[in-house]
Every structure is written in structure tokens, then in C-alpha cells.
Chain length 187, copies 4
């Protein structure tokens, strides 16, 4: 994994997704070098870069131009820009314009989550994965309900990580916000 502090950040762009969560998302996605990935709401580009290192092509989508610019800077910094196509667009519209893909990563949905999952499902290759990450209470419930309807295989993990800071007087454990990762596999 790329270290959290190796990412260029922007004050109006969330992310990067923390190292440990990027790690778990890569494992859950089972991404392979032939895969095409769509990364919705790419933000700082944390997941975009990790997918770029491990797949054939990534479409990184965000409607926030600052996010796309930040992702681009990070891609160039890590010489991964040739693997990624940046799309400045609404998520649903972007999905409609991409033909097919093996992994759909949804890090944010702007309220359209069930629609995004349903639309994505249509274009997903067999055994393809849809991954939804969230710190909202509502998002995993919506994801599970929609994936259930689509009869996907569903894996749900709620991850709480505390990170130790070694100080003179001891090791302080600092909590990160819990993240729920919902992964649906198309059968």
C-alpha cells in the first residue's frame, strides 16, 4: 500500500482512504491485472491509485473538479496516470457511458446508491464485484437491500481501527472512524 502521507491532499476533497481500508478493499475486490475498474467518487484518489497498480484500466469518476485534479496529481506523482481515465461527471451518467467492467467501487453516492448499484450490476461481468464503503449508518443497509434484490453474494465487514502513536510516556491508541465495507458478487 501507498502510505497515507504520500498522497497530495486538497482542503475541499475527502481522503485519502486510510491505508488499512485500502488494503481491505483490495482484498475484497480480488482485483487482477486484466480487470477494468470503475471508481465512483474518487476523491483524493487513494483507492484509484491502488486499483491502478493492480488492474488493466480504471475509470475514476467525480463531479467535484478539485477531486479529479487531486487524483490526477497523485497519479502523476506515482506514475500511474496512464492506467486511469478521469471522468468529470455525475456518477450515474458516467456508469451509463461505460460499456462493461469487473469491479465497481462506490465510495460515495450522492443519495443515488440503489440506482448506482442496479445500473452497475447490468454492466458488471460475471463474478464481478460491487464494493460500497461508508461511514454513514444508512449506506450499508441500502447496499445490502439492493444487492439482496439482485441476488448477489454479499459480504459485510465493519472495521474499527485504532492506530498507535508511540510517545515517551506510552503508546496512545487513536481511533479512526469505523468503516463498513459491503461487497456484492454477481453470480
Amino acid at each position: 500500500m501507498i502510505s497515507d502521507d504520500e498522497f497530495i491532499t486538497h482542503k475541499d476533497v475527502p481522503g485519502p482512504t486510510k491505508e488499512e481500508i485500502r488494503c481491505l478493499v483490495m482484498c475484497k475486490s480480488k482485483v487482477s491485472p486484466e480487470d477494468i475498474v470503475v471508481d465512483i467518487c474518487c476523491g483524493t484518489g487513494g483507492l484509484t491509485l491502488e486499483f491502478a497498480k493492480r488492474s488493466r484500466l480504471v475509470y475514476a469518476v467525480d463531479k467535484n473538479l478539485d477531486a479529479l485534479n487531486t487524483t490526477e496529481k497523485n497519479l502523476k506523482k506515482h506514475k500511474l496516470d496512464k492506467k486511469v481515465q478521469l471522468i468529470h461527471s455525475d456518477a450515474l451518467e458516467a456508469l451509463r457511458n461505460i460499456e462493461t467492467f469487473d469491479i465497481l467501487m462506490i465510495g460515495g453516492s450522492g443519495g443515488d446508491l440503489p440506482l448506482l448499484i442496479e445500473e452497475g450490476y447490468q454492466k458488471l461481468t460475471q463474478n464481478g464485484k460491487i464494493i460500497v464503503t461508508s461511514i454513514l449508518l444508512e449506506t450499508p443497509v441500502e447496499a445490502v437491500q439492493t444487492m439482496k434484490k439482485l441476488q448477489m453474494d454479499i459480504d459485510i465487514v465493519d472495521v474499527s481501527i485504532s492506530k498507535g502513536r508511540v510517545m515517551k510516556r506510552g503508546t496512545m491508541m487513536l481511533a479512526r472512524n469505523p468503516i463498513t465495507i459491503v461487497t456484492g458478487k454477481k453470480n
Copy 2:
């Protein structure tokens, strides 16, 4: 419990201990109206005030004068100052000058934890409790080791709490740092 936002705070004083942790400490202490309590490292006074509401007398100890002043302000705000004696002193020295008590609360130790527990144990009434809270990795281990040697009954809980913030787009779950509460009972 007093709400977190009802405490007067000070920039150089840690605390108050969050509502949920105060609640659990009160339960673990089984404090009753006849009890004498010593609160080491009282900080903002979060636990001091809760103990004051439920016990006969609390000795609140801190070597940081700002902490004692902040605790005093909070006691007066909640009309609990008559139940509490403030002691501006090193923890170990303070313990040596108090005759006996039913509950010893240690929220910070300045590196003297085993000594504090051993000294406190001598002055603790039968069935009395020593409670150690910490966000450091090392402190609960030291507490357990010392309490084991003293053949106390030991209860250990590690508590991770996330608090929901209701927003328009959903309920964001914000993590608090994990706290370990070690409770030893004198047999």
C-alpha cells in the same frame, strides 16, 4: 449523567471523560452514598462530579493547578463543591495523607501506576475498588499485573464507542478513542 457539553473546560486540562465512559465507571465502581472516593488526576472533573453526586466525600487530586481550578468551577456550577475536597499534590503523596477510602479512581498516574495501586490497596476498605482508565496500551497491562500480585478480583473491559451525528444526508458515525477500564476489588 451530566452531558459532556455542560462542563466548563480549559485548554490545558484534559477531559471531561465522555458521558458513556463516566457511566460505565460509575457502574463498575458500585459507588454508594456512604463511600469515600479518591479521584487521582481529576482533570476537568468529569468523574469527580459524578462520584460527588453518588458518594459521601470525594478527594480530587491533581498536580496541575489549572485542573483543580477547572474541577472547582464545575463543582460550583453543579452545586457539588461541598462534597469534594480538592488536593493540589503529587498523587502518591496525596494517597499517603488520606486515611482510608472505598474507591480509588486512577485516571492518570505519571508513571507511578504500580506504586499508586499498591499504596492505594493498603488504605482501601474491604470490597473496595481500584479503577484504572487509560487510552495508553501499556497502562491496563501494568494495572492487571499489579492487581494480580495483590490478588484482587479483576474486571477488564475495552470500550470502543462511535457516536452518531445526524445530518441531512445520513448519520455519520464518529469514533471516540478506545478506553480500557480495569477494575480491581479487594477481597
Copy 3:
């Protein structure tokens, strides 16, 4: 709090709610000696007994007769049976037959959660509380949505507790399932 192991249990009845969760629910409820409490889905009686110790009257409701019998045994064991009225009934029907109350505790809903909250809200005194606990992902979302509609003040905490088991080779930390506690206050 009553220790977890002081409860009589029954193989077909869930519970008792663990000590730390009972403790947090008591704090969140701000129960006082004049209060009337309704405990929906009382199970083993863990929360019923704690409320009984701190309130005027508790209606304990369950449609599982084994649950009511187990709760009754525990009430008698702890000499709290005079404070509690046992109701063998569907939750919604029970609510309709009780005139008014200060605290509505919902530990299970059989799929009727929004209805239960709405019905309960009507009968709740001003500043009264509805508390929903759950280990399901969906329940807190439903609770928050319904309480939002009713313009209640909402407090949400997700609690993950690990309990230490002191062994010769060290202290093993054993996780309890995470519980979300949603508390709504009627304004």
C-alpha cells in the same frame, strides 16, 4: 448492576443484556423513581430488573411465554416482582392498552419498529425517552428515520466491548457483538 451470571437463563430466551449495555441504557434513559417504564421484548429480564430497581412501575412485554416466565423467575430471585407487571402479548397491542409512560425500551420489534415507535410516541410523557437497542444493521437506521419524522432529539451510540479473561499466559480480550443504542427524547 446485577452481574451477568446472577440471572437465571433459559435456552430459548435471549439475554440477559450484558452488564455494560444495561449500564449504558440506564444512563441514557435517565430513569427516576417516579417513572413508568415499558420494556418491549423483555427476554431474560436483564433490563426489566434494572429498570425495576430505579422506577415506579415496569410493564414487561413479550409474546414468548418462556421469556415472561424467565423474567418472572429473575424478578423473584432479586425480590423485584412487585414493581413489574408481566404482559404476555404482541408488542403493539400491549402498547395500545397502556395509558402513558415515561420510558419505552424496545429490545426487539418483530419487524414493527416504526409502528411501535410511532404508537409509543403518542403515549410518552413530555421529555420521555424511547430507547432502541439492536445488533442488526437495519434497526438503528429505522429507529433514526422514525424518530427524525417525530422530531425527537436523537442520540446514537455504537458500543463495541471486549472483555478481558485473565489467564496464566496473559489477558485474552474476547469481543462482544457490537450494540447500537438509539435514544429519542420527546420535546
Copy 4:
């Protein structure tokens, strides 16, 4: 990652290390195809197999013969046995007989953790990693203290994972025991 249920297990052998923890350990180790790995206390072989897929050679050490046999069965099942050398021995003795390695994984120590880390450190290549995982409260403290003395770069994460079980009435979140992963890098 190999799924948890694809491992052959044995009633007297702990493991396999859960998928998500294996995933995080692989990330923290930054294992590469040229690396030599030592896996102390290999148990069921969960981490052994993952390292075997990603490195040049793994020494899997356990003093429990059932563990080694179970690891061997799993290696054969997944056709990874040619990458692994099984060593039936005390951990410290095994370390003394291996010349050099890039990654030392310690999943159990039998009380010798500081010695194991110190001995391992001597044989570790530059930028090599020592990784200690534990569910004991004491182990991460010992690991951090020893790695501090050796002036290693230390990363500490405490990971609490709940796994969702999709049922008819909702998604039940079931907690796994928290695991602390301490990673030291030799400078």
C-alpha cells in the same frame, strides 16, 4: 485471500487467521516475490499460505506436530507446498538455525517474545519487518518495548472487525476478537 472456509482445520490447532487479518498482515509486511519469510507458530497455516503465494520461501515453525501436519495439508490442498519448509521445533532454536530472512512473522511466542524479536532482528535484512499479532493485552506492549530498544520503526494497529450475517429479519453483526498488529521495520 483464501477464504476462511477453504482451510482444513484441526481441533487442537488454532486458526486459520481470519481473512481480513491475513489481508492486513500481507499489506503491513510489504512482502515481495524475492523475500524469505519465517512464520513462527504457523498453526493451521493461514498466514503461511498467504506468504507462500507472495514470497520466495517460507519457513513455517511450530512445536505442535498437529499444527505442522495441518499446515502441510493446507499447503498441498492449495499446491503451495514447494514454497514452504516445515520446521518442527521450538521457535528460538529454529530462528538460530536460519541464516537470514526479510520477514519474521510471530503469531505466538510461548512467553519468549522479547528474545524472539531480538534474535530475529539480528538475522533480518535491512528494511526487513518483524510482525507480531496477538489477542492478548500484554503481547503488543512487549513487542513495542522490544522494538523501541532496537530502534525499529513501529506501526501499531488495533483491528476490531464485525462480520455481517444476512438473515431474513436483517443483518446480524457478529464480532470477531480484536487483534493488535505490531510491525517493526529494521532501519
